[in-house]
């Protein structure tokens, strides 16, 4: 089965620093990797999607990379703020598939 793992359950970071979250996958490379933000008691919110043939994608303070050699995606938040504190979920999907496979998430806490 296609697995996706977010190695860190929790990450604490000082305000203003860059937060880096890691997502690793097994077996064949997914066609797409996605990152979502989830606040307590709320549904996930879509942030970024990166395709297999893309190395990097940016959106404002967010940056996602996709390394098919390492089978890894990194998610960066630059100039982190306390409002960025949330759980971040990584998800994979294969081309033509309807199934997103989610990691368990990394809880990010940005300390003022």
């Amino acid at each position: 089965s296609q697995k996706i793992e977010q190695n860190s359950e929790a990450l604490n970071i000082q305000e203003g620093k860059t937060a880096t979250l890691t997502c690793n996958y097994t077996n064949y490379s997914p066609a797409y990797l996605q990152w979502y933000r989830q606040d307590p008691g709320r549904g996930p919110v879509f942030l970024l999607l990166i395709r297999e043939n893309e190395k990097e994608k940016r959106k404002e303070r967010l940056k996602v990379t996709f390394d098919t050699t390492l089978k890894q995606s990194l998610f960066h938040i630059t100039a982190s703020q306390p409002a960025d504190s949330a759980t971040y979920l990584c998800a994979r999907v294969g081309a033509g598939s309807y199934q997103l496979t989610f990691g368990k998430g990394t809880k990010l806490s940005v300390i003022p």
Partner: protein, 112 residues
Amino acid sequence: SQTIHQWPATLVQPVGSPLSLECTVEGTSNPNLYWYRQAAGRGLQLLFYSVGIGQISSEVPQNLSASRPQDRQFILSSKKLLLSDSGFYLCAWEQQGSYEQYFGPGTRLTVT
């Protein structure tokens, strides 16, 4: 703009009772629709998806069922709830081919 609604927000039901959760989407047509469950400490688990009216695919065997009576309505049901059905149920929609999923606010179900 598109919006997704789920109700009820919270539900407490006894074991053996029936269940009906409803999800509706506004502002789009012919979306793919999804039901997920998120149990405490676990990742999002895909339960059902639908690519059109009356078309339902199940990802895991369980005592739950889903129906799509209208283009933008998705219903999750059970005839007899089990304790293990407790969890946070999330509906999501996706513009076909986009691979970006947008989640509703969720329903917190507690089976007692």
